[in-house]
Symmetry: C2
Subunit: 118 residues, 2 copies
DNA sequence: CAGGATCCAATGCGATACTG
DNA sequence: CAGTATCGCATTGGATCCTG
């Protein structure tokens, strides 16, 4: 880890902005089990609107993290799948997710303790 | 990893919101070398305004990720340091940072390729 | 089914100026 | 030095309705 990430103009920031988007993280998590359709993802990820999900998917497609495949059928079917690049993101993201699940409690109680004496 | 993170009401989302904040990530990175003063951090992290840095630090203190120590001196000195909890975040965060540095190029070129045929 | 379009409310964030 | 206060734009994100 060089100091790169500290430079506002360093492209590394681009990645952080992407990871930083919680929807992106959840999409990666949601696609770990294989390709998913739009509505599947929408249902899987609680609280996301179609608009935002679309934006997220488009941005991730642009960044080469996933593919969007349209099947010429009726009714229309579109599948999203992780690319190898996107799949390689799983490990770090799962590390974060694991940390989150392990430490939520500590964070919440720290928060409560802090708020108690406010 | 259970499906927790997909539930909008699950506290795990709280963590993602925190990690999702790019400033928090950079603060953790900036404090890996030991305690730092406000201005040091400000200088270290390019492009952050005092206001936002303060907000970030306060939120992280609230969550038990770092401590804020005021020294009764003139001129005033305030040091920020990671708590054990905050320090435990380093590993997952560095995993992300490492991924970012390894794959920025791939992402940027994917983006360029995508934009080229737009 | 998979979104695109539109409108709007919230707020994040930067710039600037000021204080203990 | 280490912030706080205020202003204001610009972006984000939700809600809703519509279409290939």
């Amino acid at each position: 880890m060089k100091g790169d990430a500290f430079d506002p103009d360093c492209p590394t920031r681009l990645i952080l902005d992407r990871i930083g988007d919680k929807w992106s993280v959840l999409v990666v998590l949601g696609l770990t089990g294989g390709p998913r359709r739009f509505t599947e993802l929408r249902g899987l990820i609680g609280g996301v609107t179609p608009k935002v999900l679309t934006q997220t998917l488009r941005a991730m497609e642009r960044d080469g993290l996933l593919t969007r495949t349209i099947f010429a059928e009726v009714p229309p079917r579109v599948e999203y799948a992780l690319t190898p690049l996107g799949a390689s993101l799983r490990r770090p993201i799962e590390a974060i997710a694991a940390w989150a699940e392990e430490n939520v409690e500590a964070v919440v109680s720290a928060r409560d303790r802090h708020d108690a004496l406010a």
